[in-house]
């Protein structure tokens, strides 16, 4: 790619455009998500000469995605009337995007990498330049915040649920 091989660029785009875009799409409007995706590929291209082929390419591209995902400042979550949320899928999607965008940068990227890109914890940690334990701590904080902001979407039960019997539901 660094040498201007257009076939290599095409393969790269075919393989990675979708996964990278889907990560940004969960925290930004589609237009901004496309822009962020393009920025990732631009960075990848600009720094191609420095890439060591012996290192993992997954790690390389996801670390650029992390930087781009964390660059956006935290935004606030808009108040959307419950009636609107009930009738409009677009409103529900907007609330989910806003909830993720409102997370602090490190928690946001940890959530996006593990829950949207579905990266295993070790790869998410390596791409974020931190430890697996720290990623877990960030995820706990992210999930805790999301349970509050997204409560209108899953209508938590008013009563305390029964304790599990023989199986445990883990996310």
């Amino acid at each position: 790619m660094a040498a201007g091989d257009s076939a290599a660029l095409q393969r790269l785009l075919s393989r990675w455009c979708g996964p990278v875009f889907s990560v940004f799409d969960k925290s930004r409007e589609p237009g901004d998500a496309a822009e962020a995706t393009a920025a990732v590929f631009e960075t990848l291209f600009r720094t191609a000469a420095k890439y060591d082929p012996k290192t993992s390419f997954d790690d390389r591209i996801w670390s650029i995605v992390v930087r781009e995902a964390e660059r956006a400042p935290r935004s606030s979550v808009p108040a959307i009337p419950s009636a609107r949320l009930k009738e409009s899928a677009a409103a529900r999607a907007a609330l989910m995007r806003a909830a993720v965008a409102a997370l602090p940068p490190g928690e946001r990227s940890a959530f996006l990498l593990t829950r949207v890109a579905r990266l295993p914890l070790p790869l998410a940690a390596a791409s974020s330049g931190t430890s697996e334990a720290e990623i877990c701590r960030r995820l706990v904080r992210a999930f805790t915040a999301l349970t509050e902001t997204l409560a209108p979407l899953y209508a938590p039960r008013a009563t305390e649920p029964e304790p599990p019997r023989d199986t445990v539901e883990t996310p």
Binding site: D32, E42, T144, Y154, P156, P163
Partner: protein, 316 residues
Amino acid sequence: MNCAELRQRIVDPSSASTGGHAPVVAHLQECGECRSLARAFGEVERLFGAADRAFPPDDLDERIRRRLARAPGAVPRLLRDPRILGAAAVVAIAIGAGLLLRPRGRETTAAPAAPRSQAIRDAKPTAAEGPPPAILAIRSTPIAVGGAPLSDAEKAQALGVRPLEFVEFVPVLVALDPFFPETLSGAAPRSLGRPDSPEDVMTRLIAWDDAGPTGRERWLQLDRAFGATEAALRRQVELRWGVVGGFTPEEKSGLRRIVSRLVELDEKRRARVSADIRALARYPARERRTRWRSLPFARGLTGQEIASGEKLLLSF
């Protein structure tokens, strides 16, 4: 297992395959708070798991390719040649002049740009002529910014040209014609005049020095090309800079991208889009904003492009 350990365990996506549920179950049976939290975490997980898969826009590949083509490392060597750059600038401004001076409301006729290259060739460059003695008197001491001291002649040249950011932005200002009122009035922005404060002088000389020989040659070519255009066009472009010059770099970048989107359209569609944008001037500011965002052209823009166009439209 305590509450913190349990919570870290249940957010680990691989925890299901690692086994050892007994301590988790035991803790959940004892702790109502963790039980409730685990259920809520599961609900959040399900929300994102059930969300529709996002597909990138059809033109994303193409947009990335264009962006890569503009990346600094991808500039073809040919385009680094100052002579080629200068010639390109002259052509761009000549075409821009044709577009700007074309009567409004007749876009659909798609009149070709009037050839002005002869006039431009014949016109003598004016911007770099005549040293500015007062400023040189202030800066009579040798100025060396990261290299050999600039001579008086070089200082005169550096201080006589228009700002680089402006001359580079001229084609964008011309192409954004539909966003501006037909004529602007007022005084040309001060930023386009000769630097007059010691700080401005120093800033200009540093920029000149930083540009390097190739950059300086290109700067001069752009400045000469602009100086050689008709006075009426020059004045309108300068007044437009008075509106846009204060925009942030991101907003200016958004405007550049709007222009590249306009340029990509075929002539007929560009004329239609231009007419739509011009029609927005009839509406009060608040309505203009809504109508701009609902234009089919704007719906294909990024958030930054929409915001930049909106700011420009609401500047009048």
